[in-house]
Symmetry: C2
Subunit: 230 residues, 2 copies
């Protein structure tokens, strides 16, 4: 199991006891989506996936429907599903929504973060840097995801977290493919600033560092990566 799979499993309810088949299928398909295994626009079929995964069409059906509801997949007018293509408009919307919600999640998490959590986040940030240094897209994306979600989860937000998860579910597949094609480049983040804001118990500074972290990473996306229309 690749490293990205473990990190992605941080998203949304990982209840090991609750291992219904459709849940496993859901996790697997979601991982495949986030690591660019499906070509955007090309429709995925229930029976095809069922045969690949060695199950009946039933669990696949429910997993696909759930992923459509979470906006990781789109329902075409033909009733078929596919990975949606990324447009500039959608990307800017995703960014705007992230800027609106993630600083909020970080602020709500701050009171619940102790020294051990700061240490854990510091370690994760080091691994993010390692990924950047090596140009390892999987490592970078997985550890960056872990950094953000580990932080936000401290807030125990039952409403805001699922929304952030949905946003990443829509954003990551595109980032994965774009970075795989263009390389990581000289990515900068605001993790250090966020960490020192946490240590100082400075909610405003933390929120601001998260805002900048999102916008920093985003503005480096060349236009050539997007498709034309919705």
């Amino acid at each position: 199991m690749p490293s990205l799979a473990e990190s992605i499993s941080l998203i949304s309810g990982d209840r090991p006891d609750h291992l219904t088949l459709q849940e496993q299928v859901y996790q697997r398909i979601r991982l495949d989506i986030m690591t660019g295994k499906f070509i955007p626009g090309k429709s995925v079929t229930i029976r095809g996936l069922a045969e690949t995964l060695g199950t009946s069409p039933m669990p696949v059906r429910e997993a696909l429907r759930r992923l459509v509801a979470e906006r990781a997949l789109q329902l075409l007018p033909n009733r078929r599903v596919s990975v949606p293509a990324m447009t500039i408009e959608k990307y800017s919307e995703l960014t705007a929504a992230r800027v609106a919600l993630e600083p909020l999640a970080a602020e709500r998490a701050l009171p619940h973060m102790d020294d051990a959590m700061v240490a854990k986040l510091t370690r994760l940030d080091a691994e993010v840097d390692e990924g950047i240094r090596l140009g390892d897209v999987e490592l970078y994306l997985s550890k960056n995801l872990e950094f953000h979600f580990t932080m936000y989860r401290c807030g125990e937000s039952q409403v805001i977290m699922p929304m952030i998860e949905s946003l990443w579910l829509q954003m990551v597949p595109f980032l994965y493919l774009a970075m795989k094609r263009k390389g990581l480049g000289a990515i900068v983040d605001q993790h250090q600033e966020a960490l020192s804001a946490i240590r100082n118990r400075d909610a405003a500074a933390l929120a601001q560092s998260i805002r900048l972290d999102i916008l920093d990473g985003v503005n480096r996306m060349p236009e050539s990566e997007f498709v034309e229309e919705s």
Copy 2:
């Protein structure tokens, strides 16, 4: 078909051509949820709903799963689904998320609103006031929903709108029951302020009026309406 039904159908894709059975079942169950037809915490069964709606369990199954993904229903550890009870923490989170997203949606919609839209919103606001004056919960909730969603939809936001829809889906059932029990009272809103901000093309003023509109309505909720824990 009651008035609330038509307004609620403003939420999420209403494609009349696309009338698969599970879609109709979904719309119907969603309406029942928002009008308090299910007791929070009491589990709803697939077969029970199927019998009530006169279909096989299949479409109900998919509709329920979709509503769970949209957070209108919750999945209990027993694999059963129920309308989640409202807690103070959840309500404050819903409010925070609304304050974060809805002003954003309004700002994005502003450039696309013409005089006809202002006239339509003015008419809807009058109907909202009528609902308040009559103490008609259904009328108030449906027209208030229409007012907000008609405005936000002008922005053609494909990412932010579904998130706002999910928030209302979680909020409205609770409001419905609380207002039915306690009455509308002297509800105040910021619709007039929003309308004049639109006429002046003042994005900041519009965003602020939406913020206040959300917080105004929210702070009037007595604590006695909530349940104890999550």
